[in-house]
């Protein structure tokens, strides 16, 4: 697998001090097990590529509180500090490769320009057979990823783990924002989104309007409400969600809006939710998703370090990434 030069030019590699490195060879951290993007070994079965999109223009357009542009940096530091017991063998065998491709250069660009560059990067990674792991940014980050899935053209399913539906109309019918990505997806004329394969997972009745629920139903898609999930049990509900999203789709994109998690655990988000998932629930879901062969793109969005408490939310985001990597390692079987 190789990443075209054109794609790499869109990315700004992160400074060395943004990555944690351990000092004890007995205790390697994720920061120690990253492979440079241009040294991916031929032996690799699975290549996960982390890409940051440091911006919150879409959040501001949506009337939210800014800060998400600092998320990629905070998540990266938290992630690279984590111990690697679950994946060390898979990574050292070079069958699983994790790269950090750096950030999309968002400096001085419009949201539309950033989205176009993200589309190019994600398309290129998908074409190369890599699994992009995107660090937002606001939830508008989902839209260029969906466009890239459309561009690749294979039927795909989408699960959005979120308190909100994010199917609001565009501003002035043209400007996307952090509340609009799935409206854009549903109304996209020539989409590869498979029928009945989009699920919103964890919506809260007090965070979504009746007409937005009706809109999702109108397109034959599914809004799985948090209270129904709690009644059935998160694990059962998630198994069903994965099955539904991949029934007629060979590819799956999972987006995690951190505000799906209760603000006790995730205070550092754009729009904190008093109720929501626990860390264990979300970690279980992302691991099960990553273990599934269909998962080909993942993002974590709406982390807002300006409102974080002692790095709690960034650490949870780091755990999410680690669990995604662990799920990818699970695909390879026992090592």
């Amino acid at each position: 697998m190789t990443i075209p030069d054109k794609t790499r030019r869109l990315l700004r590699s992160v400074p060395e001090e943004a990555i944690f490195h351990g000092t004890d060879p007995e205790d390697p951290r994720f920061g120690d097990l990253l492979t440079p993007i241009d040294e991916i070994p031929a032996s690799a079965s699975i290549v996960a590529v982390i890409v940051g999109i440091p911006q919150h223009i879409g959040v501001e357009r949506n009337g939210g509180r800014p800060g998400a542009e600092e998320a990629p940096r905070a998540i990266r530091m938290a992630f690279t500090k984590l111990a690697t017991s679950a994946v060390e063998r898979a990574i050292k065998s070079e069958r699983l490769v994790v790269c950090d491709a750096g950030d999309i250069d968002t400096n001085g660009k419009t949201l539309e320009q950033i989205h176009d560059e993200q589309h190019d990067v994600v398309s290129s990674l998908l074409h190369a057979g890599c699994i992009p792991i995107l660090l937002g940014g606001g939830h508008d980050t989902a839209w260029p990823t969906i466009r890239a899935m459309n561009y690749v053209g294979e039927p795909f399913g989408v699960i959005n783990i979120d308190a909100h539906a994010d199917v609001r109309p565009l501003i002035d019918d043209v400007r996307s924002h952090s509340g609009s990505p799935f409206r854009q997806m549903l109304t996209e004329p020539s989409s590869a989104l498979a029928p009945a394969s989009f699920l919103e997972f964890g919506l809260q009745q007090t965070s979504v309007s009746r007409s937005h629920l009706d809109l999702i139903a109108h397109y034959g898609m599914h809004a799985i409400m948090l209270d129904h999930i709690r009644e059935r049990g998160v694990r059962t509900a998630w198994d069903d969600a994965l099955m539904m999203a991949t029934q007629t789709a060979s590819k799956l994109y999972v987006s995690l809006d951190m505000d799906a998690v209760s603000s006790a655990y995730a205070p550092g988000v754009s729009a904190p939710a008093a109720a929501g998932f626990t860390p264990e629930e979300v970690l279980h879901c992302v691991r099960a998703a990553a273990t599934h062969r269909a998962l080909c793109a993942f993002d974590i969005v709406e982390v807002n370090p300006r409102y974080d408490v002692d790095g709690r939310t960034a650490k949870l985001a780091g755990l999410v990434l680690a669990e995604v990597i662990a799920g990818l390692a699970d695909r390879l079987g026992p090592s």
Copy 2:
């Protein structure tokens, strides 16, 4: 249903900026669906009336930390911002009506004067067939509501969701405070409280004394301890509690002390508890209670915005109100 002028004069309507209004007709918020207190349509089957009691005199008398007087304002803002998907149809059909009657004017008054006015307001609302939803204030807020239930005279049950029993003696045998309302209720000579129909739900062994538990048992009432609830499961324990409280009573009053919820989720309370309910547990309980035909009065007390973290507790209180309204809508059947 009409509210007498005399009652309305006791209330101070809230300023317009204290209520959130949405801007998108596709996404109405609770602030958009409130009915003015003097415009209740004749078609209404259920009328919920929100009344704030901004004071913490009883908390101070009990040695607690002040701040609860700011709760009605904070809860109202959080509540009116919430989306209305669960109740939009019931409210738009004018079968369910939600009014915000404003606050009891507590300025410069003694606790006894405030309690008397609250008693008059709640009695009047109960007589009119409305369901008062009271925003404390300290837990002494429960006492005038109980007096109003006595005044109305129908046999009633009470469930107090709380970490504490609040059956302390009065100060100098006469002055009530935030720790005394249920002692006052139990020892009231001519009470309409039905036998065995008072339940304390969620008491913690480290928050209640042996003699207070003995006192509750002495009156034939029930202390349901948090650890027993956890062993049985909250949903089962709550179903039983609702049944017990309404076995010989046609009316039910539920009081929610926010410190029943773990301080991770509810840091902004007078007396935070390190252990306790999760938001989901409490939201389930209040919704099931509101769905029950017997529920005729509800309050939420002891929220203390001065100790809140990024509005987390006020938001949870807002969710509680929304869930009560959703439970009332459930009574009307599918719309």
Copy 3:
């Protein structure tokens, strides 16, 4: 039971204002029910002795953030404020006695000197048949307790409730620190630790290295990972853990590292964990352990009041102590 003068000289009794005293005889608090260390009645079946070790030298050696030296004071205040409904009868009958022996005098001492004094104190308490309840300090606090168990010589089991394994090598092969106590225990040549009787309970895959897990397995011991515990249910997993730790051991020492609890509930620790146990889970575990006849020593470590939020973590630590005392009372049967 008497505590030798030599032992008492190693302890510095706490000032009167460090203990909370209630004012209502109907509502005694733990601070009201403490027995002075030299007044233990002959009738006592179970004597729990609280000892603080106010230091964080081991945390600093391990690169952690200082503050744990303030933990004994904060935990003591939180604990002594708690109501005593679960244990009042057992304590008033003088069958269960709770003493607060004060703190080990750590002023101006090296970690090695403090550890030696703690070893002497704990050995002496164990010999006298008391149950030491130790308030760390960093997790290095576990090592002198283990040495004391070795010194007493009866086969013992150990359960460490923790996110981390704490089996790191010593610094320069000689200096112990907050990450090394269980490595020291495993490699101790003449240990009374029973075969297969050491369990790490709640380890997180992102907090422990592969080689440390291998080390634990190499010694025939058990690492019970948090995600496996969640799959099986905490209560079942804990019952099994208690059984395994006491299968060939008549004595049990349980160590609780507060960072086993999610940082939403326990923000005030040296190394906060975004995921982890809930208060209810940990309280259930310590109570079940204390009810078990084998439990002869307990500690709570790594509380760090400098990072606490409104005393949340200290309060939880107080609840843990209260639950341990309640478990000891359970041993006496219904009173």
